[in-house]
Symmetry: C2
Subunit: 224 residues, 2 copies
Amino acid sequence: MTQQVRRAPLTRDRVLRAAVTLADATGIDALSMRKLAQTLGVVPMALYKHVANKEELLDGMLDVLVGEIDPPAAAGDWRTAVRQRILSARQVLLHHPWASRVIESRTVPTPVVLAYMDSMIGMFRTGGLSVDLTHHVMHAMGSRILGFSQELFGAPPSAPPPDAEIARQMAGRYPYITEITTRVAHDEASVVGSGCDDQFEFEFSLDLLLDGIEGLRLRGWTPR
Amino acid sequence: MTQQVRRAPLTRDRVLRAAVTLADATGIDALSMRKLAQTLGVVPMALYKHVANKEELLDGMLDVLVGEIDPPAAAGDWRTAVRQRILSARQVLLHHPWASRVIESRTVPTPVVLAYMDSMIGMFRTGGLSVDLTHHVMHAMGSRILGFSQELFGAPPSAPPPDAEIARQMAGRYPYITEITTRVAHDEASVVGSGCDDQFEFEFSLDLLLDGIEGLRLRGWTPR
DNA sequence: GCGGCAGGTGTACGGCGTACACCCGCTGTC
DNA sequence: GACAGCGGGTGTACGCCGTACACCTGCCGC
């Protein structure tokens, strides 16, 4: 009589969200079609009725993340609107640390990403930047548009403090790095945690770019 | 009598260089320990006497590339010296398109990369930037230090020009993107090739950053 | 002459993405 | 009600991957 509720039927959306959750939990390297199918209580090949292949799965996962980014603020000048949106994108990426590597591996943007880029371009254009300037600015922002940090290296896995001998060798071999790291270590002693203030660093470089852009706009930058 | 010259013995260096060559030729996705061994006329496991695992192979491949970057110019102001060096790094990356993805996947810098970063930091410091400013600037440059472009998407594989109907849909859905792409298309008609001038875009954003940095230096930027 | 060892080999395991044939249960049509 | 069609889940299998582990071999110092 009562129909047995076997399992919520698979949908593309459920597959993508499960993939995001799994990647969050176990890292992107551990995300396989097989493991993903397992968390959905389904045989691996079932996924292929909803995504063409793993590449498309990854594309879709990024689409989910883009959907988490705040919509653009309605009012205010272009600079703060863009700034807010990018900082929102960054928050999303912080919650999904695997995302930057996936972004880096994409070759063709999905419609969702295209729509996001279009809306971001619109913020520059309505802010008064010329078509040419906007074009170059979008290149300059690159994947920072998506909150991407482009740090040279992710957070090192909190290595134990090196002993004095190693530290001396480091200081000899890499004097300038040592100069900075010891400075940071001192600052941190008076603040918290270990390492840099990533949020500050992100905003620093973001503002460096935005300030530069606003300067070009004010000076009426034109190509050549 | 005459010793048979069987094969140049494997060395770590030979392995790494062969890996770089193979990645150049077939792409990083097709680079496997098995294929690499094959090009060296050797059984896969032989490689493991020279690199601990594939991660270390990738690290070593980047070290090879860092070795191809021009040494810093001896004289001149910090800005042009840094600019030259980064543009040299970019040339290296252009010849090894797989490099950016490998950079993105590294977690811990090798001594070679550390030395490169140290020397880059030195250029800022001797140029008159404070320790703090240099620190933040290094974050702001991120992997651009290595010539990394951080474009949102690599060159799309030169899709055929969309037919009129598709183009109309595009224009409706992504008006701002369309505005820029048609502008670029017109410019290109009078120049060459298809797509953007990547070199220009790279230098544009590099200069945006360097100009901003020089501005901070001149104004005696300090934290907080 | 011989022990040790660096470096190359062979075999094997578990995991991966996914092609392909299948099958089951629902839906629309008559 | 019968039944064809089909969308979605299944099962099996293939060829690839990284690499653990045991083994062999030829050279070097003693």
